[in-house]
Amino acid sequence: MRKQYFLCLIAVLLFVKLQAQYEVRGSIKTLESQDPLPYATIQLLDVKSSKTISYTTADTNGIFNLQTEKTGTYRFKTSYMGCLSFLDTIVIEKPVVFKNVFLKKDVEALEEVVLKYEPKVMKIENDTITYNLEKLTTGEERTLANIIEKLPGVKLNNSGQLIANGKLVKKLLIDGEELFKNQHRTTTESITAKMVEGVRYLDKYQDFGNIKGFDNKQTNALDVSIKEEYKNKITGDFKAEGGHESKYLTKTNLYRFGGQFKFGFIGNWNNLGKQSITNLEYDELRGIGFDEIDKNGFKIDKTEDSSPKFLEPTLDIEERINLFGALSLIYKPSSKTKISFLNVISNSKQKQFLLNNRRFFDLPAANQIEQRNVQSDFLLNTSVFEFGYQPSSTSFFEYIVNFNPHSSNEDFIITNTTATAVTSINQSQYNQQYVLDQKLSYLTNISSKTLLKATGLLVLDATIDDLEIISSTPAFLLEDASLLEQNGSKKRNFYGYQLKTISKFKKEMLRVEHGTIFTDTDFENIVANQPEFTNSFGSSRIDSYLNASYEGKLSKRLIYTGGLGYKFVQLERFGESFDNSFLLPSLKIDYRMSTSKNLSFDYSYNIALTVDTQLHPNSIIDNYFSIKSPSQVKSNQLLPSHLFGLYYSNFKIKTGTTFSTYTNYNYTPTFISFNNTITEEGIVTSSNIIGEAQWQWNFGLSFDKRFKSKLGIFSNFSWFYSEEPNSIRGEQNQATTLVLKNKGGIYSRFRKGVNFNLGLDLEIIEYTSSLLEITNKAIATKPYLVFNGNLLEKKVLWSIGGEYANYKTDLDETNVINIYPKVTYEINDNFEILIKGNNILNIDNAEITRNFNTINYSESSVVDTLEGYIVFGLYYRL
């Protein structure tokens, strides 16, 4: 027992020593009578700046103990009312330094002083919001994601990104570092609630590399501080689950916080079916370090650069096995240097089963019933390496490398039945892409008001796209086409530079950018023995631009940003050479009605050029029933567009009530449209044509009102409408699409008892064709109700939820009742056991109904969705 006591005592002493390493101890007395001076103040000041490094007050006996973290030479100041202050130099080299001080009485100190002055008023712009976790949380939270749900005005959106007070959070900081970059969902689900000391929202966070006096690295951040006991050691957890039917999950999160070296590792292997990374999360990873360049000069066409389609959120998956890993390493040997490395890998093996009812609007005789089995294997990997060096507060050097390979392998087994024939088809699709981005930049201030940034950029992008179709009848009615092999490849390399200056004046800011990008592309697509499908072309392009934007204030609340860009493009392709130049204006107006209310308007005009792959002179096979016919678009076609946006947000920190609304209007006078035709056999051919006057309008409204932090009501509503002219068999058609979504409900946040969450998730999609005079509609209605609570002083947490999902199209309707219970029992601080289920009424696969529309046909599908499961699990916390 004694031994244990002494060991504990030593441990406590060591712990205390680690917390504050150096002490100054002593006493304060009067010089004349040696009387102790209670509550005298003692300070350690910086020798040069007199900044207070540390301070304390003496106790009733005049004894003090002043602590500091670093050795060095300081100014030592002691003060007491009625005595002359004592100022001395002190050298702290040992863990404890003793200093006794004797103060002389101040004979002149007695006076009545009337203070007349103008008060110093500090503008608090609510740029830091500290959340009172004690008030907001109930103790039932298990992860940081659970805590974030309770913070007013903060939420994770459907794409896994954090939104705070209506704004997208650019950085999620854990212990001061952005461990997994913008992978907010992954990060918040892996940090345990017990690790969390506090959470703050920083509206003006200045990241590493910020130049003094400028906001080049200023952004908003959600800052999560970690408790001291979890720092400077490996911490984390392990989870293992297994159950019916042959379901399993193993997951680990490991971290090291504190100190110069930090790391995080997340591993997850499961067949429960949850998607490990969404397409937006992947886009965010790929875009690290390159947002600025994409936004200002090098407008990359989204059709060329879209994320792999297997990342699109979808419910039509029968089975999914996921292997996911993320590793983050951050090393900061000094305040001037930072090195970081992030690697994310995701491998998904999927199975799908669909029964499609494909109706051709124009040719009912070609209607098809199709049974489709798909097996897929997807792999993606992203590695980001960043090196930053800031030799002084006025300059910064940065090098970023981003490497993104991914591959997908899909095998389709299809049985296609029409009125006249039954065809068996095997389709194998293999796609592999890698993108290597490198960026080197240097920032420095060239005067007290002007910052200069020089950037060099190199991007290498290569894709392989192979397709094999084996059909019981000649595919596309081509001779010798029972076996078709199409091999495609695409290379796109671009390199260039950008120079940017930011000049800050009293109330205004001027940004000027100039850059030039050189791009070379090669595209090839060959089908063996089918020369009409051979495409081989390339292009060389030079984009040069000069942009200027001016930000000014019309009043304290009204801020405007006006911009004008000049762009010159020179392009050589398909044996032609042409150049063009444009002026591109933009305008943004912000009306800051108060610190919590904001109204803004923006407008921008842009001109894009067609990309090479939209101009293929010969046909390309898309899949087993559709072909892209030769393009009818000219090589030098310009595509202008106008974008208007209006946004309003209002939030109240104390009550947590948020309200925001937005509307965007996009008008494209000239755009790439399609002319589609259908053959009697149900083969769709599509060729690119020029369309005129496409417009899209979307509107969204969301609010979350809380009543005394106990009850809340919320709604997220969005409405999207587009009108797009295209052609069907050469005839003009006007296609309209309407998408209406709303998720709303009420919820409770009682600290005791049972909490509930009741709501409705609704989605309506409607498609109309003027030429064919048809309207297709698909509706998904999902009311849900969840209860949760705790027992045995929160050692047992339980929840039970239910959702009734109704999917309806013009042809089919399915219903799914999903019940998802969960019970966890905390055995002690380290161990927890759990039992949970999802869709437990559908342990064998459930079915849902989906609708997919094009201008020629509609598909109403009944698809297998993920089967339900019940699993038992063990959780261990380090």
Binding site: T30, D35, L37, P38, Y39, A40, T41, I42, Q43, S49, K51, T52, Y55, T56, T57, T60, K77, S79, Y80, M81, G82, C83, S85, K105, V107, L110, E111, E112, V113, V114, L115, K116, Y117, E118, P119, K120, V121, M122, K123, I124, N126, T128, I129, T130, Y131, N132, E134, T595, I653, K654
Partner: protein, 246 residues
């Protein structure tokens, strides 16, 4: 213009019995003013120890009290009893008592919520611990070199305090304390400004007496009481006047 008046008083021979008084003015923006407007408001006021609206901080041997002048107090209570129809909870008549030796802080409410409660309340707890961040920002307040310190209270209020170590009293208005010098100005969010207007040493060594008469409760109990009293209700006074509390 900075304006200082100095009076020479008798020297006290005993440092142990030294006590100091600091006069403060509290200014509120509510929803009508901005902080800049409060500067103009302060200029119009009669300030110092004779201020009809001012507060006084008394510091003595590790104990402090902060509240209105006693005679001003009587007048304030009378004014509240005949106040207008809307009952506001924005400004409460509250005094603060701190004892560093005993680690006690008392919030004393005289005649709390006279319409519905009408009794004195003594809310006792430990001295609040403020995690002050002393910034590099320095300034001058009436000839005293000051530094700016910031902190955030548990309820999320952002606090900015200007203090001077030339007056070696580690105290401030209300329950603020703990800096290496006297706090001359406190700003709470964009809502409240508390400004020191005069300082003097008192010869009268009357000890600070902590309140003993009243309903004693902890902070948690007081919060429950507030919730009960301030929920929306309609109050009918004996004279038939109807008060709506929202």
């Amino acid at each position: 213009m900075i304006h200082i008046k100095i009076f020479i008083l008798f020297i006290s021979t005993s440092i142990f019995s030294q006590s100091y008084q600091i006069a403060y003015e509290e200014l509120f923006t509510f929803d009508y003013y901005e902080l800049e407007d409060l500067k103009k408001e302060l200029k119009k006021k009669e300030v110092g120890f004779e201020s009809p609206t001012g507060f006084v901080l008394i510091c003595q041997n590790g104990k402090t009290s902060y509240g209105k002048n006693a005679e001003r107090l009587e007048k304030s209570i009378d004014e509240e009893n005949t106040s207008s129809q809307m009952v506001s909870s924005e400004v409460m008549l509250v005094e603060y008592y701190k004892d560093k030796t005993a680690n006690i802080c008392i919030d004393y409410y005289r005649n709390y919520d006279p319409l519905l409660y009408g009794e004195d309340v003594i809310v006792e707890g430990e001295l609040p611990t403020f995690k002050w961040e002393i910034t590099d920002i320095a300034g001058d307040i009436s000839g005293y070199k000051c530094k700016l310190a910031k902190t955030t209270r548990n309820n999320g209020d952002a606090i900015m305090a200007w203090f001077t170590d030339e007056i070696a009293i580690s105290e401030g208005p209300r329950d603020y304390w703990g800096l290496p010098g006297l706090i001359l100005q406190v700003q709470i969010n964009d809502k409240v400004l508390i400004v020191a207007t005069a300082i003097k040493k008192i010869l009268d060594q009357k000890s600070i007496v902590f309140p003993a008469k009243g309903n004693k409760m902890t902070h948690k109990q007081f919060t429950e009481l507030q919730k009960e009293l301030f929920k929306p209700q309609k109050i009918v006074k004996p004279d038939g006047t109807i008060i709506i509390r929202e």
